[in-house]
């Protein structure tokens, strides 16, 4: 295969993380909303797995649930397992999970101030994180932190250790947060829209850092709505729609021949793929409400290929080789590609 993620020759290896049938719900005044509904996937060491989907599709809730960062109440992990190095992240005692967070699984957020304290200098935050997780001297931890700030491209790193977060630009804060994650050399990084708020030149720097981490055999779960970012960095992707995975497969294959009409619509709405002067393709209608999911395919009401059978019963995610798709008309999509019933 020619994907960036699996260019190294390996024997059969175990997934680093295996998520099975994850269901997360939120109690609201109007009823119980399932934000994640039966999501299963796995990530190999040294793989960047992309998760793409629009606002509210459940991609961030999936990520937050893995480290049990969903506020409870109203959120609740109803069922599912997340096997990581032989332990279930969703069932282990919370004290044990605290040892995993940051040390074995790092998390990068879109907004760096959710992870950095405004009241403490950068240096003391980076040192504290190391000392929480291991028996390391202050000087040694300080030097390690400086080294990582330099690696993520912070100029005058030894001086910046004394800065407060508000004294840095947004792009620099983001890189400080990324340094704080990378310096722990976690086995898995969960990155939720890590570059969305950044300028394109800074975005390229951050993506380079994630690629370097991957080359050191770190696995990355990369959540983004930017298809270009997925294409550039990921070996495989999951497409989520209305709380479910609707398509999964190697990036090049899925982009070349999407098997779910939603994936195809997303690709066509991407301005980078459109022709100048022409209309961009859009998706008619709206995502069904979290509280009133249809019985059958959740995309059917917006799908140009939907048949009556699509609306009758839930459509299973069907696997074929390295790909899976949740669509009764996947073969028709592949065969002709005509967007009509």
């Amino acid at each position: 295969m020619s994907n960036p993620g699996d260019d190294k020759k390996r024997g059969p290896i175990e997934p680093l993380l295996r998520v099975e049938d994850l269901v997360v719900s939120f109690a609201t005044e109007a009823g119980v909303a399932r934000a994640v509904d039966g999501v299963s996937f796995s990530i190999m060491p040294g793989e960047i797995l992309g998760v793409v989907g629009e606002s509210g599709c459940g991609k961030s809730v999936t990520a937050m649930s893995l480290l049990r960062l969903i506020p409870h109440p109203p959120g609740r992990i109803e069922r599912g397992c997340a096997w990581f190095r032989g332990r279930d992240l969703l069932a282990m005692p919370i004290d044990a999970l605290r040892r995993v967070r940051g040390r074995e699984i790092g998390m990068i957020f879109q907004e760096p101030m959710t992870a950095l304290s405004p009241l403490h200098r950068i240096g003391s935050q980076l040192v504290e994180a190391q000392q929480f997780h291991g028996d390391i001297g202050r000087d040694q931890a300080w030097a390690h932190a400086v080294r990582w700030l330099e690696r993520v491209g912070i100029p005058d790193a030894p001086d910046r250790m004394y800065a407060y977060p508000h004294e840095l630009s947004g792009g620099m804060r983001q890189r400080v947060m990324i340094a704080s994650v990378l310096m722990m050399e976690p086995a898995l990084i969960i990155a939720d829209e890590p570059t969305t708020a950044l300028d394109v030149t800074i975005q390229a720097q951050i993506l380079r850092l994630l690629m370097e981490a991957k080359n050191r055999d770190t696995a990355v779960l990369l959540i983004t709505h930017n298809l270009g970012v997925i294409w550039e960095t990921c070996s495989r992707l999951l497409v989520m729609y209305a709380s479910e995975i609707v398509e999964q497969g190697p990036v090049e294959d899925v982009f070349a021949g999407p098997r779910h009409p939603y994936t195809r619509a997303l690709l066509k709405a991407n301005p980078a793929m459109a022709v100048r002067g022409g209309r961009l393709e859009t998706i008619p209608g709206q995502v069904p409400s979290l509280l009133r999911r249809p019985n059958g395919c959740r995309f059917a009401d917006r799908c140009p290929m939907a048949l009556d059978t699509c609306r009758q019963a839930a459509v299973p995610l069907t696997r074929a080789g390295a790909r899976s798709v949740r669509c009764l008309r996947a073969d028709a999509m592949e065969a002709g590609g005509e967007m009509t019933p």
């Binding site: 960036p4 629009e54 606002s55 491209g153 100029p155 630009s169 947004g170 792009g171 620099m172 300028d199 394109v200 030149t201 975005q203 390229a204 720097q205 993506l207 380079r208 690629m211 709505h225 930017n226 298809l227 270009g228 970012v229 294409w231 550039e232 960095t233 990036v251 090049e252 982009f255 619509a265 997303l266 690709l267 709405a269 991407n270 301005p271 980078a272 793929m273 459109a274 100048r276 209309r279 961009l280 393709e281 859009t282 998706i283 709206q286």
Partner: protein, 322 residues
């Protein structure tokens, strides 16, 4: 070009004072916009691109008559906008409208949609209050919203719908130019596509011009007739979009285009532009980009290049010329 441009910005400088100490003495200036000249023809879409802090939004504020420049002139159909008064000023204010990036922050949460989109009309005494509802319905229809939206409040709408309401509000004044400041940047891909299509339909229908400010080059590539690239307060390259995108002259433009991950490119080969954007308070001498430029020579560090080139396509670089 043919006739008088709709908007012409001529060597405009916008500076902000830096005040320090107990007497708030002015210790220097942030030169947010420096010597910028641009024109927008009637019916044209001018894309304005650049990274955070490059001055593109400040320039937009000056054009909207919200931030007077320290020097230079901004002309609307030949008249200096900062010398207008009375009815003339009110007329120009109606003709230039803006749509902001954040549709959550730019709509008053306490007003129903009908009032939001007609507030300007009532303030300018273009309609009577009792005509507002009918007019609002027409405006909302223009942006693809039904009459059921009239008496609902902003929080009841999604991001894309709110942006439609912002556009309807801008349209209410029968503008000639709409400044779109990152107007589609916060939207999901499929919603973004809908709003871009709407903007293009309205342009065709009403002969609108747009000053389209964005950091997303793929969107600008799609809809702008001409594009201007800003770096640290200055325009470093300007020209017809297709030409600039296909043959960027300035190394910064080239880098901006190269670092955008796009589907279909060779994968895993994204180049990285090293270094930081320098502080606007202390811009580097010579060419402001020399600290990050792979082509920089001694001359670039001391002497500032002028914007020069063929008619239409200009760039400011000592090494390469348009």
């Amino acid at each position: 070009m043919s006739s008088e441009p709709l908007l012409s910005v001529d060597r405009v400088n916008v500076w902000f004072p830096i005040r320090r100490g107990i007497f708030s003495r002015v210790r220097g200036h942030i030169r947010a916009v420096q010597d910028v000249s641009l024109t927008v023809q009637a019916g044209e879409v001018l894309g304005l691109v650049g990274e955070s802090g490059c001055g593109k939004s400040t320039l937009a504020r000056s054009i909207l008559m919200l931030q007077p420049p320290v020097s230079g002139t901004i002309r609307w159909q030949g008249r200096d906008v900062y010398r207008l008064g009375g009815e003339e000023l009110r007329q120009v204010r109606r003709q230039i409208q803006i749509v902001f990036q954040d549709p959550y922050a730019s709509l008053n949460p306490r007003l129903p949609v009908a009032q939001i989109v007609t507030e300007g009309l009532v303030a300018h005494r273009m309609i009577r209050a009792d005509q507002a509802a009918d007019r609002a319905a027409v405006l909302l229809a223009d942006v693809g919203l039904g009459t059921d939206a009239l008496y609902r409040y902003p929080h009841e709408f999604s991001g894309g719908q709110r942006q439609r309401i912002s556009i309807a509000r801008a349209l209410s004044m029968n503008p000639k130019l709409i400044v779109c400041d990152e107007a589609v940047s916060a939207l999901d891909v499929s919603i973004q596509a809908q709003v871009i299509n709407l903007l293009m339909e309205l342009r065709a229908k009403y002969g609108l011009s747009y000053l389209f400010i964005s950091h997303d080059l793929s969107v600008v590539k799609l809809i702008a007739d001409r594009v201007a690239v800003m770096y640290l307060g200055r325009v470093v390259e300007e020209g017809p979009t297709a030409q600039v995108m296909a043959n960027p002259v300035h190394p910064y433009t080239e880098a901006l285009l190269a670092v955008v991950p796009e589907v279909g490119r060779p994968r895993g080969q994204l180049p990285v532009l090293a270094g930081e954007i320098p502080s606007v308070a202390r811009p580097p001498a010579g060419c402001a980009f020399h600290t990050r430029c792979p082509l920089a020579v001694d001359r670039c560090r001391s002497e500032r290049p002028e914007l020069a080139g063929e008619e239409g396509h200009k760039a400011s670089c000592h090494i390469r010329s348009a």
